[in-house]
């Protein structure tokens, strides 16, 4: 079995079998991570560069761990103090790095479509680690992996994504992936943070979180980016917390336990109250563990394709 594409740019349009192949492969890698020696020689001799044009801690560390556990050689590139800071263009930077004989590129960029541009100009396999407000496919894959692990299925699962949908790449990738696998997906947030025509992606839109809670199996709660408040998308963080924040009191109204996910880092007391973040309903730390397994699966599947 092999993936249809030699890049992972997004989950939009990715066939169901490919998503399932990644999820199934990640199951084996999760087993590897449970062993005392967590390293396999799969990508020995391959070089992966982590190109992070936008700051990130956990995604970068997660990728780096996944790469090292597959025995790849790893190079990290961040923009601070780099040639980009000296005025070099994105394209030149990338072509220079490629000239150093890189096999795979993991890219995080603040501009939607940057990995797509990269895939047009380099020969290496490109993995999107988050592009602007477009996609964050490995995050969605690890979210879906975690849900599948808990429920045993995705088809028919009720998932609501809560928060700033407009600017969220996590939301988009989750919508694309979950819809392909047959889940029922809704979004809930202030109307100013709901993008136009989102319902055409096959999701229901809610503005009242208390109306959503009784209907769902999973709440995937997005980080409210504090800097957005400066653009006045919402009146205040307090008001946001009051109307959209996930609290134990709100969850108690549901007849069944609802699982809580969050891509991190959490703003405690804004989108999630601490008692929920640390509760038995929270899958947040499992997501982090699964993230490494998913990224190993993606790196393995792309890195071992015949080039």
């Amino acid at each position: 079995m092999a993936l249809k594409s030699r890049h992972l740019l997004g989950l939009e349009g990715m066939p169901k079998e490919d998503i399932e192949l990644i999820l199934d492969t990640a199951v084996s890698f999760k087993e590897v991570l449970e062993r005392p020696i967590k390293k396999v020689p799969t990508l020995q001799g391959k070089t992966v560069v982590n190109l992070f044009f936008e700051s990130s801690t956990r995604t970068r560390i997660s990728f780096e761990l996944a790469e090292r556990r597959l025995s790849a050689d790893v190079v990290n590139f961040t923009t601070a103090g780099s040639s980009i800071a000296k005025g070099e263009t994105f394209k030149d930077t990338v072509k220079n790095i490629e000239a150093m004989k890189i096999d795979m590129v993991v890219i995080r960029h603040s501009s939607s479509g940057a990995p797509h541009f990269l895939a047009k100009v380099v020969d290496a396999n490109v993995i999107n680690a988050g592009d602007g407000t477009h996609e964050h496919p490995t995050q969605a894959l690890l979210d879906i992996f975690t849900m599948r692990e808990k429920f045993g299925y995705i088809q028919g699962l009720n998932v609501c994504i809560v928060g700033d949908i407009l600017h969220s790449r996590v939301a988009r990738s989750n919508i694309f992936g979950l819809k392909t696998l047959g889940a029922s997906v809704s979004v809930c947030g202030p109307e100013t943070l709901i993008p136009k025509d989102i319902e055409k992606l096959g999701v229901e839109v809610y503005h009242n979180i208390d109306e959503v809670i009784p209907k769902v199996d999973v709440l995937n709660v997005l980080r409210l980016q504090l800097e957005r408040q400066n653009s006045a998308f919402i009146p205040s963080l307090q008001e946001y917390h009051k109307f959209f924040g996930i609290t134990r009191k709100r969850l108690e109204k549901a007849s069944k336990p609802i699982l809580i996910m969050h891509p991190g880092p959490i703003n405690r007391g804004v989108e999630l109250s601490s008692d929920v973040a640390d509760s038995e309903h929270s899958l947040i730390l499992e997501q982090v563990t699964n993230g490494v397994a998913i990224r190993m699966a993606v790196l393995y599947l792309l890195g071992t394709m015949s080039n």
């Binding site: 939009e12 263009t89 603040s110 940057a114 541009f117 602007g132 407000t133 993008p195 136009k196 992606l201």
Partner: protein, 434 residues
């Protein structure tokens, strides 16, 4: 120099002329029309199956000089215009320094007169406000004296309604057209793609189409309000792009307002979906952004029924290193001078959407009406200002044949039927190299 063009289909809609005849040009003037015997000193061209029209004008061009000579110069822009079938170009004032004072206008005119021996007429558009900042009026009267044919702040349209009112009042004294790029910047902010399904899917900052309609409506209502007070306002909508703007334009035209509009070939042929299809091709990043299929249908309808008056390119050259970037970093705009005529012949005239007469009105007759320039006549004794077309030639758009300094066109590689053959003006002939 004596040039004999044999068996050409000569079309001049303003004169009601459409005949297959010979045309003799001597020293830049049309000496004779009709059946003409060749003599030895004639340069003879067989024009069977070809069309001769009054020279085309592109009302919306960015020549980039002064200030951005790495994108285009007046010289390369003029050559691109000639190569694309135009004998006249209006150049927008967003240069550096901007054309907000007479010396810059004079500089541009002087440089233009030295390129291709001045055969391509360059008509500068002056800025409405100083530095195109939308606050204080530019020296309008002085700019008129220096030779501007109209006024526009183009990409930085006046946001302040009070300033816009003063601009309408003041410019009304000079019989010059005001060309508005309609965009409410408070709505578009950093928008890059038409707000809707595709911008949501692509995660591109949304640009709501109502921002065009809102400024258009504000301007049209201001003009209506001022109508009893001011003598004459000529208002021209740049690159109209949305169905709702078309409906508004049609309504106000019916109410008798002196307003006109242009559309670009790219807004007629490309959609927001193409950004997805092309995986974020930066040559589809234009302002206003590409719209939906439904908007295109409305634009085409307006092109056919006369609601739209002009086809203009919004030729916006950018250097390769500027466009070869991620979508957000790339600047807005594409070149158009060397593809417009071919695209319209191929996709509209040859497909029976509009007639060749209508095309000539859109490119040659109406721009002159709007700019207050005398109509070019194809008649004995007149100066030969002509665009020559080959409506049947099949060709592939090839960037290597562009005379523009830039290559930022989404139409490279398109297979077209119909192309510009050349231009004649001020005693000079330029054969297109496309």
């Amino acid at each position: 120099m004596k040039i004999l063009l044999k068996n050409a289909r000569v079309i001049s809609p303003s004169q009601g002329l459409d005949e297959v005849i010979d045309l003799l040009i001597v020293d830049g003037k049309i000496e004779k029309l009709g059946d003409i015997e060749e003599t030895k000193d004639f340069q003879v061209y067989d024009m069977s199956g070809k069309i001769i029209s009054p020279g085309f004008i592109d009302m919306h061009v960015h020549l980039r000089e002064p200030g951005f000579e790495h994108k285009e110069t007046i010289e390369t822009g003029i050559e691109a215009g000639a190569n694309g079938g135009f004998t006249g170009l209006c150049c927008m004032p967003n240069t550096e320094p901007p054309m907000d004072e007479p010396s810059v206008v004079e500089y541009v005119k002087k440089r233009a007169s030295k390129s291709l021996d001045g055969m391509i007429e360059v008509y500068p558009i002056g800025a409405v406000t100083k530095k195109r900042e939308g606050r204080e009026l530019a020296p309008i009267a002085e700019l008129v004296e220096a030779g501007v044919v109209g006024f526009s702040d183009d990409g930085n349209p006046v946001q302040d309604s009070g300033v816009m009112r003063k601009a309408f009042e003041y410019i009304s004294m000079f019989d010059r057209v005001i060309i508005q790029h309609c965009e409410d910047k408070t709505l578009t902010q950093n928008g890059m793609a038409n707000e809707g399904y595709w911008s949501t899917l692509l995660g591109l900052p949304p640009y709501p189409d109502i921002s065009e309609e809102i400024i258009l409506y504000r301007d049209l209502r201001l003009i209506q309000y001022l109508k009893p007070k001011i003598k004459k306002v000529k208002y021209h909508i740049a690159h109209i792009s949305s169905k709702s703007s078309i409906e508004l334009l049609r309504k106000f035209k019916n109410e008798g307002l002196n307003i006109t509009a242009e559309v670009t070939p790219h807004h007629l042929l490309l959609t927001d979906e193409d950004i997805w299809r092309s995986s974020y091709d930066t040559n589809l990043k234009v302002n206003p952004p590409l719209k939906s299929r439904e908007d295109i249908e409305s634009l085409v309808e307006a092109l056919k029924d006369g609601t739209i008056d002009v086809i203009a390119t919004d030729h916006a050259p950018h250097a390769p290193e500027e466009k070869e970037a991620d979508f957000a970093s790339a600047p807005f705009g594409i070149i158009g001078l060397e593809t417009a005529v071919g695209l319209i012949l191929s996709e509209f005239v040859n497909k029976g959407v509009i007639s060749i007469h209508r095309m000539i009105e859109l490119f040659a007759v109406n721009p002159r009406k709007i700019l207050g320039l005398p109509q070019v006549k194809i008649a004995e004794g007149e100066i030969a200002n002509l665009t020559l077309l080959d409506p049947n030639s099949e060709w592939i758009v090839d960037a290597k044949k562009f005379k523009s300094k830039s290559r930022n066109s989404p139409f490279i590689g398109w297979k077209l039927k119909g192309k510009p053959l050349g231009v004649i003006n001020r005693g000079k002939v330029y054969w297109s190299d496309l």
